[in-house]
Structures are given as C-alpha cells and as structure tokens.
Amino acid sequence: MTPAVELRGITKAFPGVVANDHIDFSAEKAEIHGLLGENGAGKTVLMSILYGLYRPDEGKILVKGEEVEMDSPAKAMRLGIGMVHQHFMLVPSLTVAENIILGREPVKRGALLDEEQMLNDVRKFCDLYSLKVDLEAPVYTLSVGVQQRVEILKALYRGADILILDEPTAVLTPQEVEELFKAVRALKDEGKTVIFISHKLKEVLAICDRITVLKRGRVVGTVDVDETDMGQLAEMMVGREVVYTFERKPCEAETTVLSVKGLKATDDRGLPALRGVDLQVCASEIVGLAGVEGNGQTELVEVLVGLRRVNRGRILLGETDITTDPPGKRIEAGISHIPEDRHKWGLVKEFTVLENLILGSHRDPKFTGRGGSIDFQEATEYSKKLVRDYSIQTPSVDTPAGHLSGGTQQRLIVAREFSRQPKLIIASQPTRGLDIGATEYVRGKLLEMRDRGSAVLLVSADLDEIWALSDRIAVIYEGRIVAIKDPNETSEQELGLLMTGGNLG
C-alpha cells in the first residue's frame, strides 16, 4: 500500500546544528503515527518541513506516492496536510466559527459572508469527529483544550487528510487529554492519518499504532506499538552518548544549603504545578533535576528565586526561612540564578555589558554610595575585570548586550551570577542553544563553583548534561520528586522510565 506521506533522506541544518540528518519516515492512511524524541531531537523541524515551513537541504517528500515540492504551508494545505502547532494561531476576538473559516470564507452573492452555510459546514465536522465546541463563542473565552479543538477543526475544514499534532498534550489537563484522544481515534476511523509528536512515553503507547523515535536528528527506529514497551522506548529515546565527562570530586561538606519541604505552587493558568516537592542540596554538590519538560521544573525554579508565589511548604537557605522573601532579598542572601530564558529573565538587551553585569548588585555599597549615585568608575573597573576573567567577547563594556551572540550573553550572565560568591546556584537549562565551546565553558564553571563550595541545583532537559555534572540526580514527574538517584547506580533506562511516570518495579 502506498503510504499517505513519506519522507526520504530529509536533511536540514541550521547554523551550528544538524536538526535532521537523513531522516526516512512514512505514515499510512488511517494510522496514528507517533514521533517520539527528547527536546531538540528534531521532531518539530521534521514536521515543519513536511508542512512547508522549512525547505529541506536534501531529501524528498512524497504525498500519496507522488513526489512534491513543499514550498509553503498553503501548498501543504492544498495537498491535504494540516498542522496544529504548540502555540495556537487563532484570532482571540473572533468566534470559533469565524476562526475556522478564516481564509476560506463561504460567500454568497459575491461578497457577503454566508453565515448559515458557514455554521452548517463547521457543525458537520464537529459531529463527525465528536469535537464539541460552542461555535459562536469568542475564542478568548475558551480554555486551552477547546482552543486546540478549534485548531484541529480548522485544519479539517481546510481538507486535511494528514494531521500533524505538535506536542498536543503539553498544554492540556488529563481530562482534556482524554477528549483529545477520543477525537484522534475518530479521525483514524475516518481514514485520516495523524502524526502525533510527543516526548511522553505513556501517551504515545496509549494512542499510536506505530512509533518512530528520533534522537539528535536521526531516526533510531520505527516500532509497532504492540511489539514494544516503555523500557525499550525509553532506551531508544534517551540512549546516551557521553560527550562530556568531567573529573568529579566526591561531596565533601555535608552541610545542607537548600532545603525544600512540601512545596506546592500553581502554574500560570492556576493549575497545580508543584504538588509537594521535597529536596535538599548540600554545599559542594550538584543536584541535577531530570524530567520531561512541563513537569514543574520551571515553576520550581521560579519559586526558589522568588518569582512565583508558594502556596504551601517551606524553603530554607541554610537555617533561614526564605519562603516569602522577594527576589532582591534572596540575591543578598546568596542565591544566584541562571534563568531558563535568558532574554526574558536574564538580560536587559538594551543595557550595556556593564549595566547588565552590575544588574542585581547595583545597590551594593561597592557601587552605590549613600547618595544613591552609582560609581561608574568603579563599575567600569569591575565589569572590565569580569569581561577578562570570563572571556566575554565584546568590543567594550559599553556595548549593548543585545549585540552579543547567544553564547556570549550566557557568559555574561554566568559572570554576573558567579562573581557574587553565591551559596546556592539555580542553573536552569544553562547550556540551551549554546555551541559546543560555550557549553563546555558553562559546564566547567558550574563544576568549578561546586568545588569552591557552592550548592548547585541544575535543571536541564538534556539528560546527558545532568548525567555528566550531577552528584545526585533528582527525578521530577508531575510536580513531585519521584526519585533521587546516584548517577553511578542508575541507568538511562531507569531514568527514562521515572521521568515518564513509569517504574522498573
């Protein structure tokens, strides 16, 4: 049988990284095909190529057996391919029906919108795939789950036979996931092809017929869901190549620096994100927090640095309770933070290198006297020293930080945070998006700080990184620390399972 869609030898490189490396992939008619892999494995890039958002450097795309030039999403839509992105692309002020027909409005007498026709058309789809939506509600009043349904309806309305869902469950509650699965199965029964991108093992096992696993831009393999299990998939997905190894001194001081007890907090939508986190980090120790993204890591970090409110539980720094302290007090108390999103939280990109380097310690008596004026001479000397010590590649300390490369910006943040002699470092995705040189540098610095006595909590989506740096590995799943492991006494398979809610038993 001719596959509904087939990709042959797809290669796509971005500066510094090969996102897709000769990928072969095919999905049948009336099939739910899972595309599994860690963050950065190349899943979204591959599907963006299929959807015409990127042009591949090499390789062929075949739709229903015919080779096609996929040069735009419009073309993909014409060929019956629809994609629902992680970030929805709806117009909030328009109604559901208006959003669905947007760009393909049924008209009567040349120019008038045929509302009757429109509602009937859309209603047909809703019934067919048991997608329940109030068609006349404005989109901004809908929950995320319902908005996703609207996106799916939109793709179907445009005649999609092949539907790509990019991490569709990432934003959903468990109940909404059930609803989604029901709809996906209905689509399959209608003979549609669904490509289901995910990094959650349980989900792909629950919904898919076949699963293709990607790792670092390559296909690890395609398996039938009946012939595989969590253990195998976890190993395929995270199977590890050690790129960096560092000399690791054993934990010397046993003094607890950070102690978190029964911490509960909600995410931005008000849903529980932390459901009782218990965790300790000692001086001269790196604790790696492993977990699939979206299991509460972001919220935990924000709670620890004071950017998110704690609903219940306590945070102790040494002996001091800092649960309700604002960020400024925590900085003074010795907490440094390398934020996950450095543009959003880490830098003021219009500020100069100097200004960014003193940001946060600008009230320090070293820089600001009684009169409230900043001693810019002192600040210049200080930042010049940091630029030298941390080899920050910048024309001068007066260069706006936004002009620097991503790796250099991260060095700048590392320089600022580490030069404060912190007791505790919260490093969140510290090497994300960095090239090899910068990655190695940041990792080396983290180890150096650990050896000098700092306690480090390392949050990373990159299991290799956790593995290479951590003295202990804490696994977070659905807002709880489900296990704490010694890296020498665990396997990638075990971690992979723990991260996805499984257990070796």
């Binding site: 925590r330 939280w345 946060g360």
Partner: protein
C-alpha cells in the same frame, strides 16, 4: 523559531539604527535634525503651492522667534512649560509607561501652586515661592499616583487612566475657579497670588520667568537621575525588561508607581511655574494643551532630557515665530500646526530618514 519582534516603541525611543562612526547621542541628534529639516521642506512646498513665498514666511518666522531679545524671550516663554511636560512624559516612558496625562498633572499642580499663592500673606518670598512650587509638584505627583495605583493594583492601563484623569483635572480645576475660588468679576479665575509668591520675570517686558531656570535645572537633574543613580538605573531596567528587573531583585511595582509619581510631579511643577511666573493667578483654560505638547516634544527630542529641552525650544519658536509670520506675511497660522504635525510625522518615521540619509551618501 520566531524572531523577537522589535519593540513598537522604537520610534518613540529615537532612531532605531545608528550612523556608523557617530556616538549614539550624536547619531540620534542628526536623525532628528534631518527629520525636522524634511518637515520644513514639505512645509515650503505647501506654502509655494498655496501662493505664499516660503522664504519670506520662514524668514518672518525666524526673526519672529529669534530676531531680538524680546522675541527670544517670547520663544522661551512658550518653551518653558513644555520642557516640563516633555520631561514628565519621558521620565515615565523610561520606566516603560505611557503617561499621556501630563496635561492633567500640569493643571492640578498649577491649581495647587495658585492656592498656596493666594492663601498666605506676608510670607517672605524665599519661603512662599518654594512652598507653592512644592505643593504644585506634590499635587501633580498625587495626580500621577492615582493611575499608578490603578495599574499596579487592578492592571488598568495607564494610557486610558492618565488620559481620562486629564479631563477630570480639566473640569475639576474649572469647577474650582468657577465656584469656590472664583475671583469677583465674570472671568473664571482666582484672585492674583500674593506678590511674595511670584516667580520673578527675568526679561521684561516679556513674560519669561525664573521658571525657565527651574526647567533647566530639572533637565540636568532628570538626566543625572536616570543615568547616574541606582534609582534611575532601576527605572530604566524596569522600563526595558520588567522580567529581568524583577529577577534582579528590583521591586518592579514600586518603580512603576514612583516613575508615574515623579512624572506627575514634574508636570505639576511646570504648571506651578506658569502660575507663579506668567499668569500670577489660575485662569480657567490657561493651558493651550502644554501637556499634550510634551508628549510630542519628548518624541522629537528622542526621549532624552537634553533632546526634550531643544525640541521644546523649537516648539516654542514655532509658536512665537508663527504669530509674527502671520502678522507680517498673511500666511495663516495653520501652517504652524502643519509644520508641527510634519515634524512629528518625520520623527516617528526614523526608517524613512535613515534611508534618505543613506541615499545622501551617509552609511548607517
């Protein structure tokens, strides 16, 4: 991955790019200057087409604005209040806020100063004048506190609240001088302030008062505050990236409140200067919209204190020179409003100016 979109406010923040080889400040100065030049060129075309001589009109305007000491005095008199309102706008803007309600803060400040001016008798001037200015600044600051509170507490957008509060201020001050504090007679105004509360006129017979010194000092002070102090550093960080500011331990809400209060106080001080120096009483409708002018002037000045000072003088010159031009050449005063609009238009389109300069052989 989506590129981070450029901020919409880049026009307001001055030139988006830079002339190579020039310092950022100088580069912006050149850009703004070219924008102003463009406005006058287009204005000249309009004059020509409508049958007036651009040379004569501009000549009359120039002599009208700067021809002799008296004319310069008039120009600076008109410039003074908008220096304040422009500084007010830009201060809040540096904190990431669009305070478009300087008019209201200006009026409330003016009324505050007027009330102090008429309420005390026999105070020495060295006490009375500063007291009136202080009360004016506080009144303006409090008028800025209201939108700040509404924003940080309820998330009400300051563009809406500051603008609405301007109308509240307009009618509130109007009520005050029509009823409780109305001077005898049929003009809606207060009685004259005590002589001890008067800011001296420094260039008689023009109405130029010592308020311009306050404006000058305030320009220097604003520049210093924003660039050299920890407080200004925090305001700027908050305005440019509130998330990063918060992460760096800055109390962002507090900074937003302070930015609006200081902004309102600056505008209020400007209103006070007008009362104590020029009108010597609060007259209903005495402000021809100085608060609104401030926004445009801050924009034309590239949102820098010194730039605002220069742009305020330009606007003052357009106003005083325009009147002379009308009398001398018969060109309608509307051309002045046209020129102002054109200046704003060209300043708000830095990309256009940049491409013009590039064609002129300058590299960016």
């Amino acid at each position: 991955m989506a590129e981070e979109s450029e901020t919409v406010t880049s026009a307001a923040a001055g030139a988006g790019g830079r002339l190579s080889g020039l310092s950022p400040g100088l580069s912006m100065f050149v850009t703004q200057l070219v924008a102003i030049l463009m406005a006058f060129i287009v204005g000249a075309v309009v004059l020509q087409v409508t049958g007036y001589s651009p040379l004569k009109a501009y000549g009359a305007m120039l002599t009208g604005a700067f021809g002799n000491t008296y004319r310069i005095g008039q120009t600076l008199t008109h410039a003074t209040p908008i220096i304040f309102t422009a500084l007010a706008f830009l201060f809040a803007f540096k904190g990431g806020l669009f305070n478009i309600g300087a008019e209201g803060q200006f009026l409330v400040g003016a009324l505050g100063a007027a009330l102090v001016g008429i309420s005390f008798d026999g105070l020495p001037a060295v006490v009375h004048v500063p007291l009136a200015l202080l009360v004016g600044a506080i009144a303006g600051g409090l008028w800025g506190l209201i939108p700040a509170f509404l924003k940080t507490r309820f998330g009400a957008h300051e563009v809406i609240t500051t603008m609405m509060l301007s109308y509240v201020a307009l009618y509130l001050t109007g009520y005050m001088v029509n009823y409780p504090f109305k001077a005898p007679g049929w003009v809606a105004q207060t009685v004259l302030i005590a002589p001890s509360a008067e800011l001296p006129r420094i260039l008689p017979p023009t109405q130029l008062s010592a308020s311009i010194f306050v404006a000058g000092l305030l320009t220097l002070g604003t520049q210093y505050l924003l660039r050299k102090t920890a407080f200004g550093f925090e305001i700027r960080a908050t305005g440019l990236n509130p998330n990063a500011a918060r992460n760096a331990g800055i109390d962002v809400d507090r900074k937003l409140i302070l930015a609006l209060v200081v902004s309102g106080a600056i505008a209020g001080l400007g209103g006070s200067g007008e009362i104590l120096g020029v009108h010597r009483r609060f007259i209903d409708g005495f402000s021809p919209g100085y608060g609104w002018d401030g926004l445009a002037v801050a924009l034309v000045g590239g949102n820098t204190p010194y730039g605002a000072l220069l742009a305020a003088v330009l606007f003052g010159a357009l106003r005083s020179g325009g009147m002379v031009m009308t009398r001398a050449t018969g060109v309608p005063l509307d051309i002045v409003f046209l020129l102002r609009a054109l200046v704003i238009l060209f300043v708000a389109a830095p990309t256009l100016i940049r491409s013009l300069l590039r064609r002129g052989g300058l590299r960016w």
